[in-house]
């Protein structure tokens, strides 16, 4: 369990992390989500004692990180997969980790197999690794000491779709066996699929937290519909008291999909596509972090299926 209490970090006048508090529970994957520069990495660096906090504290399983003896055996950390000596082989990177933690060298082979790095790949120097391979190596390093807590900064960055699916399975399985997983990402879809619990952070502050359902409750109902006769359908919907507006090749309607189906049935219009158009996490995320985004996000881009 990771407990963050009132964490603040200022650099000069800049508040990189601003009064952040949350808990990452064992048995769950907690996603730490925010745009670039929102303070995710700084928070994680404070967790493992690389950066001293200005205020507040972090405990992992009830201890400050510095007080955990041989911390690699309890907390697996991946902060930056590229932060490895370019001249070392993948195997050597893991061997150094294993030796530091006092693990037998056979553990290195075990873990290489677990992250699907072949013996030939393990013999290559990290300089020649793709970003995806570095991520696998970094995850391998984090898992080396068989820890019960994992702290991973952007672990899916650079992975191909198969790699992302693999990572998802690995972390889910890990949490199901009682482990605590905290992972950060700026890619919502990644986190949405892996995380049981989400912490949304923007400009150093937590803007929302909870599971997906909690986060999305309170969002207005909306449907996206395409039919063979959109005009007729729009008229029927208006008659039923729902407002419909053109969206791409179809319509966006401010009601449940069932209502749209009913109106189409009554009007005898053939539907070719009908789905929920409720604002997803992405919209929520962009909305919550709107004032912290680098680009003002154009509304059209957030309306699902809007321009497509």
């Amino acid at each position: 369990m990771i407990t963050v209490e009132g964490l603040t970090k200022t650099y000069g006048g800049f508040r990189a992390v601003d009064d952040v508090s949350f808990v990452a529970q064992p048995g769950r994957v907690t996603g730490f989500l925010g745009p670039n520069g929102a303070g995710k990495t700084t928070t994680m660096r404070i967790m493992v004692g690389l950066t001293p906090p200005t205020q507040g504290r972090v405990t992992i399983g009830g201890h400050a990180y510095q007080d955990i003896p041989n911390p690699g055996r309890h907390v697996g950390v991946l902060l930056d997969a590229s932060a490895q000596h370019a001249g070392r082989t993948g195997r050597e990177v893991l061997t150094i980790g294993a030796r530091t933690m006092g693990l037998p060298d056979s553990r290195v082979d075990e873990i290489l197999e677990m992250v699907s790095l072949t013996p030939a790949e393990a013999k290559r120097r990290v300089r020649n690794y793709s970003l995806g391979m570095r991520q696998r190596l970094g995850v391998a390093h984090a898992l080396l000491g068989d820890p019960s807590v994992l702290i991973l900064d952007e672990p899916a960055n650079g992975l191909d779709p198969a790699g992302i699916r693999w990572m998802r399975g690995l972390l889910k399985g890990y949490a199901d066996r009682g482990g605590t997983v905290l992972l950060s990402s700026h890619l919502l879809h990644e986190v949405e699929q892996i995380a049981d619990e989400m912490i949304l952070i923007g400009r150093g502050r937590i803007v929302a937290q909870g599971d997906k359902k909690t986060l999305l409750s309170g969002q207005a109902a909306s449907s996206l519909v395409t039919s063979l006769d959109n005009d007729a359908l729009a008229r029927a919907l208006s008659a039923a008291g729902h407002s419909a507006s053109p969206a791409g090749e179809g319509l966006r309607v401010d009601c449940e999909t069932a209502e749209v189906g009913r109106a189409a049935l009554a009007a005898g219009v053939v539907l070719t596509d009908l789905r929920s158009g409720a604002a997803g996490l992405e919209d929520l995320f962009l909305e919550l972090t709107a004032d912290t985004q680098r680009e003002g996000h154009p509304a059209a881009a957030t309306a699902q299926g809007g321009a497509a």
Binding site: P26, S82, A83, E110
Partner: protein, 268 residues
């Protein structure tokens, strides 16, 4: 993955970590790991190997080229030892700075959050590596003497001061510069300025101003170290004083400030 999935330690219901049965990382293990890290890259191995090869080459050349009368064990140890002395500090510099330049500090200081222990282990590893090279340099010097058929004479003062102490000072100096700058190219440049440019500048200044020539050994460490290479002449009280004063300025202060910086720096 079926056979290799990690058994996660069952966390207590409260989510607290049981750390009672985990001993801290022993210091000896940290030293062994640091020693391994200094030689496990092509760069590290080649650099250490090149220093030895260079000592060998220069000793062999002098064995054939220098006049016979000058050749004895003390002479060859001076040749071999001073060659080592130029490059040994760079090896130490790289041991420290690679944690920052190659960013491995992120991992190193996470696996052992008590940074002072890491620094201590690194220093011990550097000392061991340096002593190993000093022994090799001694063997190379002896080899040169065998080839040249020189006398097996060496003044104890030269052996201890010029060969051993001067190289140990180099080890500490390299470590201090590495900690102070935490950047490989900058630290190496600073080292060469210190060791090559500074003594020349001081020499030139001293040639024009007599008062500066008198002052130089007190404030310039290289100049002060000259007394270490004067054979059996044990450094006089004044020379010892100069060594201590200039050593404080160029060794103790950079070491202390570097250590202070390194213990507080945020590895990025």
């Amino acid at each position: 993955m079926s056979t290799t999935t990690p058994p996660v330690q069952p966390a207590a219901p409260s989510g607290s970590l049981d750390i009672s049965s985990t001993p801290p990382v022993p210091f000896g293990r940290l030293v062994r790991v640091e020693l391994r890290k200094s030689l496990d890259t092509r760069a590290g191995r080649w650099f250490a190997g090149s220093i030895v090869a260079l000592c060998l080459a220069i000793v062999l050349i002098t064995a054939f080229a220098a006049p016979d009368a000058a050749q004895d064990l003390g002479f060859f140890l001076t040749v071999s030892g001073s060659t080592l002395g130029y490059f040994l500090p760079i090896l130490l510099i790289l041991m420290v700075t690679s944690e920052w330049s190659q960013r491995t500090g992120l991992v190193t200081f996470t696996l052992e959050p008590h940074r002072a222990r890491v620094v201590g282990a690194k220093f011990c590893a550097g000392l061991l590596l340096g002593l190993g090279l000093i022994v090799l340099a001694f063997a190379i010097g002896a080899l040169g003497n065998v080839i040249a058929g020189g006398d097996w004479e060496v003044e104890t003062g030269l052996l201890v001061n010029g060969f051993l102490v001067a190289n140990l000072i180099g080890i500490v100096l390299g470590f201090a510069i590495g900690m102070l700058l935490m950047n490989s190219p900058a630290a190496i440049v600073a080292y060469f300025i210190y060791t090559l440019v500074l003594p020349i500048a001081v020499g030139i200044l001293g040639a024009f101003q007599e008062w500066f020539a008198d002052l130089a050994p007190w404030i310039e460490f290289n100049t002060a170290q000259a007394s270490l290479f004067e054979g059996d002449a044990v450094p006089t009280g004044e020379e010892l004083g100069q060594l201590l004063v200039s050593g404080f300025i160029w060794l103790v202060v950079p070491f202390a400030v570097g250590l202070w910086r390194l213990l507080r720096a945020e590895p990025k």
